[in-house]
Amino acid sequence: MDYMAPDAFDGVPSAQSAGPVTGPGLVDLDNLGVNMTGPIVKVDDPPKFELESYIANYTGRTRFNRLLLIGTCSTYLSVEALKAAVAEAKGGRDVSRYERAVRALADAAPNDPEATLDTNWVDHMKKSVKAETDRLEHELRGYKNNLIKESIRMGNEDLGQHYNQIGDLVSASKAYSRMRDYCTTPTHIASMLFKIINVAIERGDWLSVQSNVQRLRNLQSKQEEQAKNQPKMSAALGLSQLHSGSYLDAANSFLATDPSLGDSYNEVLTSNDVAVYGGLCALASMDRNELQRRVLDNSTFRNFLELEPHIRRAISFFCNSKFRPCLEILEAYNADYLLDIHLQRHIKTLFTRIRTKAIQQYLIPFSRVTLESMTKMFAPRVVGGQADPTDCDSPFVQELIGLIQDGTLDARIDLEKKVLVSNQVNLRAEVQQSVLDSLENYAHEAHLRILRTNIIRAGLEVRADDRRSREDRSKGWEGYGNVFSRGSGVM
């Protein structure tokens, strides 16, 4: 019995066919550390986490991806992480990963004994993979001949899992999506969709993640099933929204994640990650009231926040208008965030937004603030280094100028007295001005339109042939009578 309308999946083939062509928006996470087109982020500061315990939180393929990212980006943990990555890859069946890890290690520590390729293992693994692929495809063909739905589904599932293991993600998601015709219960469909989502997350195909989460949500399954799926769904959705840059949506998704997530989604992210991502997105996109109400007073999200107390502290500092400690906490954890596979690309934007919001909030109570006190608050490092920290050319003043010019700050800089003056709003004058403006606009618009009507009525439109205009002109009036009386017939 089929639980889904046959056309419910119409979107999938196109999404899948679009998948292999990695568009500019899609970043193949699998290749992130190595083939990245942009400059590789280099992190020199030691992160706050312990690599061992950090990576132990994760399972599945994300372990290797994270290790490789840390290895290539952090100068401090490079060798340690890459060695772990090599070991991780060797424990799996993905040959290309192993090769990549060894190459990266050779770059970082050329003299390390582990930096040479174990060709025996590679050859052996290649052969075994090939054999396994052949066997599974052969089996699947057999199932198909027998026309047993359940066997075909399982055959596809096995094949997808195999492809996933060996790193052929495109084939994996193809194989998984082939399962859909043979799914007979909602549970099957849900598990299939989760597999597709996981592969899509690894591939960085965020559109596909979103559409598949939507499908999961529309799935008619039992209440407890839904409840069980909800945390993973929200987390996956939040992740995709984070990557597409809609931080407020992402914050909402993460905030809605149920604490029962626990460590059930470790192949993608941990509860700690949910706390960090959700907290940062919320900090970057919500105002103080909302933060207080929806994040700090949120009893479900509190469970996550307890895992990452620094985020909680940062948010409560922000809510209490203590921006310096808040920014300090975030800066202290900057290295950690930069070494996170999902945050790396977004942390800069998130930080800028948080900072901008902090500056905005800071200015609200003041009508004029000295640049000096602002510099102390938001750019303390500059104070020591530069002779005149409030000079027109100092980076902080430049930042302020940028914010004023794009309209974020409603204030002006006084370079003589070195203060930032907030613009006083004179409502009365503003209303008067806007009345005058709209009066003028209306008069102009009405003039334009009346003239237009009268020009047409007088038959004075611009036309190539002047003779015709006279004819039309004499007919003009009757013509209009016709149009309007006919139109009125419909009324």
Binding site: C392, I401, I404, Q405, R412, I413, D414, L415, E416, K417, V421, N423, Q424, V425, N426, R428, A429, E430, Q432, L436, L439, E440, Y442, A443, H444, E445, A446, H447, L448, R449, I450, L451, R452, T453, N454, I455, I456, R457, A458, L460, E461, V462, R463, A464, D466, S469, R473, S474, G476, W477, E478, Y480, G481, N482, F484, S485, R486, S488, G489, M491
Partner: protein, 496 residues
């Protein structure tokens, strides 16, 4: 001859006495008078009559006889503009005296003659290369006539003369009266039932100026577009950018049937420049321009678009390169003068923009931030001072003693409440309200002429109900065009 004079003067004095009585009497008397004058042969002693008639009281007689006189002269000398009518001569003085003092009510009956006279004045002033002499005369004649928003060919002649004579500010009284209408015969059908005699005080310009009355020559699309273009050019010469933009907008958005006229393209080019000079950016084109017309403009004015782009992006290098590069284009389009003003406008808008970011900074900073021709801080100071003096910029300049020669530029707060301003604001609001009433009135009139007035819509909906009860066939025929006019008269009958 004296007999004729006596008749003419008695009729006029009778008319004076009739002022209080009905318009209809006045109307018939005037028509009789015209019939009487028109039967004169050409040999009467017009000189004698002219000397003894007063243009303000015997307007009609004076005008017709003056025209007769000129016509005779023209026939004698075989010259369109005889010497006698040229400035400084006797007939010129007479004509000018007449145009300054004629009675606007009486002249309604002789629109054709009036226009002939005005045009002749223009031609003769041009013939002696002194168009300025005609500008003031025609302006006063037009103001006396009070066409109340109807465009006539005389208006166009007038603007052309003021452009030629460079007497821009003299044209303002005429330009400031907004033009709404065109002399047509088409509107007459509608007014038949409410028509008052021509002489009535309540008769508006759009009624007595029609195709038949002769106040205007036949207009074509060229006339009305060039009228607004001339107007815009006058405003641009006076640097009233907003008003110029409005008139140019009218031209570029005028309705087109199948092709775009060159006047419109020229106006679009000027519109681009005027919006840069007036607003510092390209304002959004009015929505009523159809997209294909806009596309035609854009393809025909590429150099201007690039200029505007450079200006908007504050890219001074490119702006200068574009201006140099397109020199021949600007010259060919006669827009060189406007383009030259772009430099100054560019600097002005940069300084204004700084005023939104800073409340005070040194002129050296200004010089650094505005990468333009006025690089040195002394030049900047001079420039800013000129802006402040012309009240474009609300700011003060302060010389700082301890900092040596540095000058601090302090911008005043964006909305500073001044008591004076409150009063002027009040006046402006009242003025705006008046303009609004005026235009709303016109909108009403326009919609009732388009059969979109309230009464007509009510009637139509009533008709609709009839047609529902009496079956479809009957209702349709009532709605048809031929029936439309009858119904129109019906409701008016009810209403009065």
């Amino acid at each position: 001859m004296a007999e004729i004079l006596l008749h003419l003067t008695t009729v006029s004095s009778q008319l004076q006495a009739l002022d209080d009585t009905s318009d209809e009497r006045y109307d018939t008397e005037l028509r009789d008078l015209i019939a009487y004058i028109k039967q004169f042969n050409r040999n009467i002693d017009s000189q004698y009559l002219l000397d003894n008639l007063s243009p303000s009281q015997h307007t009609l007689s004076y005008l017709i006889i003056l025209n007769l006189h000129i016509e005779t002269l023209q026939n004698q000398t075989k010259n369109r503009v005889p010497d006698e009518i040229k400035p400084g001569n006797d007939l010129w003085a007479k004509a000018v005296y007449f145009l300054r003092s004629f009675d606007p009510i009486q002249v309604r009956y002789a629109g054709h003659e009036w226009r002939q006279l005005v045009e002749l004045i223009g031609q003769s002033a041009e013939a002696v290369a002194k168009p300025f002499l005609a500008v003031q005369v025609i302006r006063e004649a037009l103001l006396r006539l009070d066409s109340s928003g109807v465009l006539t060919s005389v208006h166009i002649t007038f603007l052309r003369l003021s452009l030629i004579s460079r007497s821009y500010s003299h044209a303002l009284p005429i330009l400031e009266k907004e033009m709404f209408r065109f002399p047509t015969s088409s509107g007459q059908a509608y007014r038949k039932h409410i028509e008052r005699p021509l002489c009535s005080e309540d008769t508006l310009g759009d009624t007595f100026i029609s195709d038949a009355s002769g106040f205007s020559a036949k207009l074509t699309y060229r006339d009305h577009t060039s009228f607004f273009l001339y107007g815009a050019m006058i405003y641009m010469a006076l640097k009233y950018w907003d008003k110029a933009l409005h008139l140019l907008t009218i031209v570029i958005s005028s309705p087109v049937n199948d092709s775009v006229s060159k006047i419109m393209v020229e106006s679009y080019k000027k519109w681009v420049l005027a919006s840069l000079l007036g607003h510092g950016k390209l304002v959004a084109p009015p929505k009523i321009i159809s997209p294909h017309v806009l596309k035609v403009y854009q393809t025909l004015s590429k150099p201007y678009a690039s200029l505007a782009d450079a200006f908007e992006r504050s890219d001074f290098q490119r702006l200068r390169a574009d201006i140099d590069f397109g020199r021949s284009v600007w010259r060919a389009d006669n827009n060189e003068g406007l383009v030259c003003q772009l430099f100054r406008a560019y600097n002005t808008f940069l300084v204004l923009k700084l005023g939104r970011t800073f409340s005070a900074l040194t002129t050296a900073d200004v010089a650094r931030r505005t990468f333009t021709s006025l690089a040195s801080s002394a030049n900047v100071e001079e420039f800013v001072a000129s802006l402040v003096m012309s009240e474009t910029l609300g700011a003060t300049l302060v010389h700082l003693h301890p900092h040596g020669s540095a000058t601090m530029l302090r911008f005043s707060a964006p909305t500073k409440l001044v008591f004076n301003k409150e009063i002027s604001m009040r006046n402006r609001l009242i003025e705006g309200g008046r303009a609004l009433r005026f235009i709303a009135n016109d909108v009403d009139q326009c919609s009732s002429e388009l059969k979109l007035g309230n009464e007509n819509l009510q009637l139509l909906s009533r008709n609709q109900r009839w047609s529902d009860t009496s079956g479809k066939g009957g209702g349709d025929s009532v709605g048809e065009a031929d029936g439309g006019l009858d119904i129109e008269e019906d409701i008016m009958g009810d209403a009065t």
